[in-house]
């Protein structure tokens, strides 16, 4: 016999109560007053034995009532063997999704994650189909449905657990949305088999941090019949502060004052600490910087100043609980030298000349340093003069040889800007463009000219396409040279004056192009140099000429890095990239992007010339470790299932249910209660009979 609630058997201990009551009664009942006990001695309890014997049956009945009641409350039942579920019944399809993002590197999270995964795997029945994926930025399969089926039924859970134990969390961000979508789509593999499955479930084991990306789910129609069970792992210390490198604007001027990189320190809202320190991890002698960041806020500070003559590339935040996001790698950007050749009157200090304004337009920035070289048109001109120039600006008529050199330069992919300050320059333009006898006529009116039509589709004017910037009417032209653009092969008029004549013409020439501006920007021709459009236009031309590098962006873990320039210079030697941990990767032939940025640190690209270095940092969102409410996923249409009690063994639960069912069928407690009532009635009758019998006797004695 077994008991459903065996602790009620302890109630059987109360059988001591009637025994005690019997003893108490013996000593307390029937007192006789007597004048004096001075001649009396107490009698040893010889007679009490007789008394006990008299009421023994009553005592037994009372004890029996209590015993039966205790037995009834313990819900006894006769045990029968449990019928096990047949092995051929429908199983479930499970996708186990393990978060291996950088935030899982926090203390104890990964071990907890593995423990939960192990528990889920051990709960699977032989009929279940399981796939295991890990995800951070990317989703990586560990075990597919087919591999699972191929494993032995007995030990496949253990095998997969051991396989998982060899994994470590990476440095990537948490792209939860793509992971869930991938997992949901993985069920198609098992659905193809046509096997009957009781449920499709994704078991997500993650820290479910606030910085997770699940934007992908917003546009995703979640498939029916797939539910998600979220098993959240929580760190021992939930607070976190993070350090990020703030990218400066490319166009900002370099100055001594703000030479160091700027950093953002963010603190979690439930943080206990507010005082942090930023120091250089690899530069001795630098004074650490104290930063006060209240919980839930962030501060942007400049990196501590480095002592003169030293350099640093690693900044460390101290005072934080979890160190996984407390290091930032910085590589100071180098301004790219860009060479521009000006061919014309070289009077730099003359404000009536073009060069004066050109000099002031090209200022050095973080991104590039424009080196403006001047060359007078009358000086002997050769191809060497053009060497290395990204852009050639011609304002004066060139000799035929020089024009031929420029034509060759353009044909090789260069860009030349011809500024028709005089009609005579048209001949040079014609020569460069391969047109014989191109002429231009001087146009000057009493009134001024404006740009009447601008092609905002062209990359040159595309930055001005916004209505806030597309007003070119403020630029007044006093005079211009009318050029017959139609005679130029493939010419495209990018801007016209309000008179209908071309103002800016683009003429493609082999690999390169030449641009013809039919008016000058010096005050004698126009007010272009004084307008706000002048400098952007010049930079747009420089950009068009390929003189500007793409804007500086930070590289995050997992981002592909464009090494096209290095690949181009290296040629057949190939490009070798050295990772922060010392391993080297050679870029495959034809490959221009390096994608193996798996860890934060400084990567070195060894090619021809000085090595190029770039820094890879952790995704900033990864520092937002506050727990994400699970219903956020539900709002995005993901059906959530309450977490099953993984810790409680399922077999035990089944056995308990089985016992409860048996007890409910047998209901032995009813018989025991009836028995207790019968005994109780007998006890009452006996007690009454004894009392009645004793009463006349006592009356007689008194």
């Amino acid at each position: 016999m077994s008991f459903l609630t065996p602790f009620f058997l302890l109630g059987g201990l109360t059988v001591a109560l009637p025994i005690v009551f019997h003893l108490v009664r013996r000593s307390s009942k029937e007192q006789i007053p007597f004048s004096s006990l001075m001649f009396l001695e107490p009698t040893p309890p010889r007679v009490t034995r007789r008394n006990r014997l008299e009421h023994l049956l009553l005592l037994v009945l009372r004890c029996l009532v209590i015993g039966l009641l205790a037995l009834g409350f313990a819900r006894p039942f006769l045990q029968k063997p449990m019928v096990t579920i047949p092995a051929g019944s429908a199983g479930r399809a499970l996708v186990l999704l393990l978060d291996t993002s950088a935030s899982m590197r926090r203390d104890g999270l990964w071990s907890a994650c593995l423990a939960k995964a192990d528990a889920v795997l051990r709960q699977t029945s032989p009929a279940d189909q399981v796939a295991v994926f890990t995800f951070d930025r990317l989703v990586r399969p560990v075990v597919g449905f087919n591999q699972w089926s191929a494993l032995g039924v007995a030990d496949r859970a253990g095998l997969v657990s051991r396989q998982l134990a060899e994994l470590k969390p990476g440095w990537g961000g948490t792209h939860l949305g793509s992971a869930l979508v991938t997992a949901a789509e993985a069920f198609t593999e098992v659905d193809k088999r046509g096997q009957e499955l009781a449920a499709h479930r994704i078991v997500l084991i993650s820290d479910l941090q606030e910085g997770s990306r699940f934007e992908l789910l917003q546009g995703y129609d979640w498939p029916r019949g797939i539910d998600v069970q979220v098993e959240t792992v929580r760190p021992k210390r939930p607070t976190n502060a993070g350090l990020q490198w703030v990218t400066d604007l490319d166009d900002a001027r370099l100055s001594e004052a703000d030479a160091g990189p700027r950093l953002r320190i963010s603190n979690s809202s439930n943080a206990q600490r507010e005082q942090f320190q930023v120091r250089w991890g690899d530069a001795a002698g630098a004074v650490p910087l104290d930063v006060y960041v209240p919980p839930g806020q962030s501060r942007v500070v400049s990196a501590p100043r480095l002592p003169p003559g030293t350099s640093g590339e690693r900044l460390v935040l101290t005072g934080d609980d979890d160190p996984f996001d407390d290091t930032v790698y910085v590589v100071a950007p180098k301004a790219e030298p860009v060479s521009v050749l000006f061919v014309g009157a070289a009077a730099e200090a003359d404000p009536t000349q073009s060069l004066y304004y050109l000099e002031r337009a090209f200022q050095p920035t973080r991104r590039q340093a424009v080196a403006l070289r001047t060359w007078t048109a009358s000086a002997p001109f050769s191809a060497a003069v053009l060497g290395g120039a990204r852009l050639v600006i011609v304002t004066d008529r060139l000799p035929a040889a020089a024009a031929g050199a420029v034509g060759a330069y353009v044909g090789a992919g260069g860009t030349a800007l011809f500024v028709l300050q005089s009609a005579a320059l048209a001949e040079t333009v014609g020569r460069v463009a391969g047109v014989q006898s191109l002429t231009a006529q001087e146009v000057a009116g009493t009134n001024y000219f404006m740009l009447g039509q601008v092609d905002f589709q062209h990359p040159l004017f595309a930055p001005f396409a916004d209505p806030r910037y597309n007003d070119f009417t403020k630029i007044r032209f006093w005079k211009y040279r009318r050029l017959d653009a139609g005679s130029l092969p493939g010419a495209r008029v990018l801007a016209r004056f309000d008179s209908g004549d071309a103002a800016l013409v683009e003429v493609p020439r082999a690999k390169g192009r030449l641009l013809v501006l039919t008016s000058g920007w010096q005050p004698a021709d126009s007010q272009l140099a004084l307008s706000s459009k002048f400098v952007p236009l010049l930079y747009a031309i420089l950009d068009l000429a390929g003189g500007l590098k793409p804007p500086l962006t930070q590289v995050q873990v997992g981002d592909p890095v464009d090494l096209g320039e290095a690949v181009a210079t290296a040629g057949s030697q190939g490009v070798l990239v050295r990772k922060p941990d010392g391993t080297e990767v050679r870029l495959a032939a034809g490959e221009t992007h390096f994608a193996e940025t798996e860890q934060p640190g400084i990567y070195t690209v060894a090619a021809v010339g000085p090595p190029v270095r770039f820094a890879v940092n952790l995704e900033a969102r990864e520092s937002r470790t506050a727990p994400l409410p699970a219903d956020q996923l539900q709002r995005l249409g993901v059906p959530l299932k309450p977490p099953s009690p993984i810790a409680a063994p399922r077999l035990e639960q089944k056995r308990h249910l089985h016992d409860a069912e048996l007890e409910n069928q047998q209901k032995l407690w009813r018989w025991l209660t009836i028995g207790a009532l019968v005994v109780l009635v007998a006890e009452m009758w006996l007690a009454g009979w004894l009392t009645h019998r004793a009463a006349p006797q006592s009356a007689m004695t008194t």
């Binding site: 000593s27 307390s28 029937e30 007192q31 006789i32 007053p33 007597f34 004048s35 004096s36 006990l37 001075m38 001649f39 009396l40 001695e41 107490p42 009698t43 309890p45 010889r46 007679v47 004695t701």
Partner: protein
């Protein structure tokens, strides 16, 4: 045969015949007597019954010799005729002069809790109080001064010996006070009496004597030494004398509240042995000091107690020489 001798014979006869047998019709059953609530009435019934018995007895006129009554004879002053006695007895008796025959009697009545025990439907205290009231009534009838002292572990009430109208009523009221004390201290009232009563008097101590007798001998000796005549009436319940219980139960001391589980069959022998030793000790003390000692079981008719009282006085009149002033 003298009147005293006849009286003695009569009392001996009555003692040999317990109440309810033989001459039972002449004596009142104490249970019937105790049904009378009024103490004074009880005393009167006893005394009158006693007188009634006397009238029918052959000891007529003994009291002349006994104390203060003398049969009238011509020449006597008719003022001293006792007309009430004449009314009852139809005979002339002359009261002697008080100076000659005045007796001061002090009734020392134990009123402790142990006296509140009784197995016959009334307590020892009721019996003792009735006895004391009977004696007081009797003596008061004779014109003697009666005083009262009730006590337990301390003195509860004290009335000096007087013979005044209303004194007897006060005395009765004091006697009717319920028993309250938790112990019995015999030495203290005796000492008090020694200290207060200077004139020679008759001391009647009515108690169950269920207390240690240590100081009793000394204090009684003091009383005797002061010239007082002492009578000791020990009142005991028949259950105390025989211990006739049969159930093994808890016995509770009515004085101290102490409880003992006792099987009477086991302890009876030992109890009786100890009790008899105690009574013998008390008797021995009395004999040694020349004190009259009588033991009363509460089922005994009170008339016999009165007889005993008179008999004791008479015997003492024979044995103890009276001090002549």
């Amino acid at each position: 045969m003298s009147a005293a001798t006849r009286l003695s014979e009569t009392m001996d006869t009555r003692r040999d015949h317990p109440p309810g047998r033989g001459q039972a019709g002449a004596l009142l059953d104490p249970q019937v007597l105790m049904a009378i609530k009024n103490l004074e009435l009880r005393a009167r019934v006893v005394v009158e019954g006693f007188w009634h018995g006397l009238h029918r007895s052959p000891c007529h006129g003994f009291s002349v010799e006994f104390t203060e009554y003398r049969q009238y004879s011509p020449g006597d002053d008719p003022r001293y005729l006792d007309w009430r006695l004449y009314a009852r007895s139809d005979r002339y008796y002359v009261k002697k002069f008080e100076d000659e025959t005045n007796l001061r009697c002090h009734l020392l009545v134990d009123n402790s809790r142990s006296m509140a025990y009784g197995s016959l439907g009334y307590t020892k205290a009721q019996y003792a109080n009735t006895l004391a009231a009977t004696l007081a009534y009797f003596l008061n009838l004779q014109g003697d001064a009666v005083g009262l002292l009730t006590f337990d572990e301390q003195i509860r009430a004290y009335l000096p010996a007087r013979h005044r109208p209303g004194h007897l009523r006060h005395l009765m009221l004091d006697l009717e006070e319920p028993a309250a004390g938790t112990a019995t201290d015999l030495a203290r009232p005796l000492r008090r009496i020694v200290e207060t009563v200077k004139k020679r008097a008759l001391m009647v101590l009515i108690s169950d004597l269920l207390a240690p007798l240590g100081a009793l001998e000394k204090e009684l000796g003091s009383l005797v030494a002061c010239g007082h005549e002492v009578l000791l009436f020990q009142i005991l319940d028949p259950a105390e004398l025989t211990f006739s219980f049969d159930q093994a139960v808890m016995f509770r001391d009515v004085e101290s509240g102490q409880q003992l589980f006792i099987d009477p069959a086991t302890v009876r022998k030992d109890y009786l042995r100890k009790l008899n030793a105690h009574l013998a000790a008390a008797r021995s003390v009395c004999r040694k000091l020349g004190i009259g000692y009588r033991q009363f079981a509460t089922h005994r008719p009170l008339e016999l107690a009165l007889f005993d009282f008179l008999r004791e006085r008479m015997q003492r009149g024979k044995t103890v020489p009276r001090r002549v002033r």
